[in-house]
């Protein structure tokens, strides 16, 4: 999904850049300079995110996630699913097939939904990066609320989508 989006994103951005260059060379060069500076200043933080992500990816294979989420039911299962979703950084394009398999093998719909929700909205590994841009209070509060609302969304899905 992400790379697919990039295939659309790249031509669009390059087109805008070309348009900008035609309109005003100086401004365009300034924009490139600023883009580069921004990139360099946050690069260490992005790299800092990459290592934990690498660790998590090595530790959590799709099979393992399926085992953790599939084997437990009830509230413990929901809690574990949401915690796994919060720390994992699996691309959604991989997560949906996992979720589909889980549902087929009998996992509860609430567990699966809470996993997808936390996966997409809560980012423990990327929290330092978020703090840099949004400030500590906003970033922590946003993640905390996203965690809680993942439960709300999951329960709604559990009630409606059966």
């Amino acid at each position: 999904m992400n790379s697919l989006f990039s295939y659309v994103f790249y031509p669009v951005v390059l087109g805008l850049l070309a348009l900008s260059f035609v309109k005003d060379k100086k401004k365009t060069l300034l924009s490139l300079k600023r883009a580069w500076k921004m990139f360099i200043t946050v690069l260490p933080q992005f790299l800092a995110v990459l290592f934990p992500v690498g660790l998590l990816l090595a530790a959590m294979t799709p099979e393992m996630i399926q085992n953790i989420l599939g084997s437990r039911s009830g509230f413990a299962g929901i809690l574990i699913s949401s915690l796994v979703g919060s720390v994992a950084l699996v691309p959604v394009i991989i997560a949906f097939p996992i979720a589909s398999e889980l549902l087929k093998s009998g996992a509860g719909i609430i567990q699966v939904t809470v996993f997808i929700s936390t996966l997409t909205t809560v980012g423990i590994a990327t929290l330092p990066l978020e703090i840099r841009y949004l400030g500590k209070k906003t970033a922590v509060l946003r993640n905390l609320l996203a965690f809680l609302f993942s439960y709300v969304v999951a329960f709604i899905a559990g009630v409606v989508a059966i």
Partner: protein
């Protein structure tokens, strides 16, 4: 002479460690893993390398766009569109902007930063980030394919509610001082 040099190097390293403590921590953890279990360590390294490439690939257009937005969009326009007094129209604009993008939240943070720098309302930035994380039109099609139409649509609707609720609750929780600090930070994080 030599001792002075070492002290200087040490001081420099300390400064780097303090500034990028998270990166240093991540590297130390990784080193420990590598020492304990070299095969797992190598797997991590491989994943990290592959991820780094994906990251750069994903981030290059994001930063190019951020740079363009910085020079072309003037503050007044942005404030009018999604600023403090933009009202419902601003909310809608932020929501639609987020809905059509499909990159992970962390990749969109620089864009969030530039929106703040240009005077966007904080809740609108959060709506933008939230919508791009959990309300994605391209993803909806894929989700219905693997999890069923009814499930996907239910989640879609519930997520819209969640994104707005989170954004407004966070904004309500922020004091005037908090907000001023966020805008000041946004100003600093985008170099001139």
């Amino acid at each position: 002479m030599r001792a002075v040099l070492w002290i200087k190097i040490f001081a420099g390293m300390k400064a780097i460690a303090r500034k990028h403590w998270f990166l240093v921590l991540a590297l130390v953890i990784h080193l420990i893993v590598l020492l304990f279990d070299s095969s797992v360590g190598m797997t991590v390294l491989r994943f990290t390398g592959k991820n780094a490439l994906n990251f750069v690939f994903l981030l290059v257009p994001v930063f190019l766009l951020t740079g363009l937005m910085d020079v072309w969009i003037d503050r007044e326009t942005m404030i009018r569109m999604i600023g403090e007094k933009s009202g419902l129209r601003g909310v809608l604009a932020a929501f639609l902007l987020g809905m059509v993008t499909a990159v992970p939240v962390y990749a969109l943070l620089p864009v969030g930063g530039i929106l703040l720098k240009k005077g966007s309302r904080i809740s609108n930035v959060l709506i933008f980030l939230g919508a791009s994380a959990s309300i994605r039109i391209p993803l909806l099609i894929f989700e219905s394919g693997s999890l069923g139409f009814r499930f996907a649509v239910t989640r879609f609707m519930a997520n819209i509610f969640a994104v707005f609720a989170i954004s407004f609750i966070v904004e309500k929780a922020l004091t005037g001082k908090d907000k001023a600090a966020i805008y000041e930070n946004a100003e600093k994080s985008i170099p001139q």
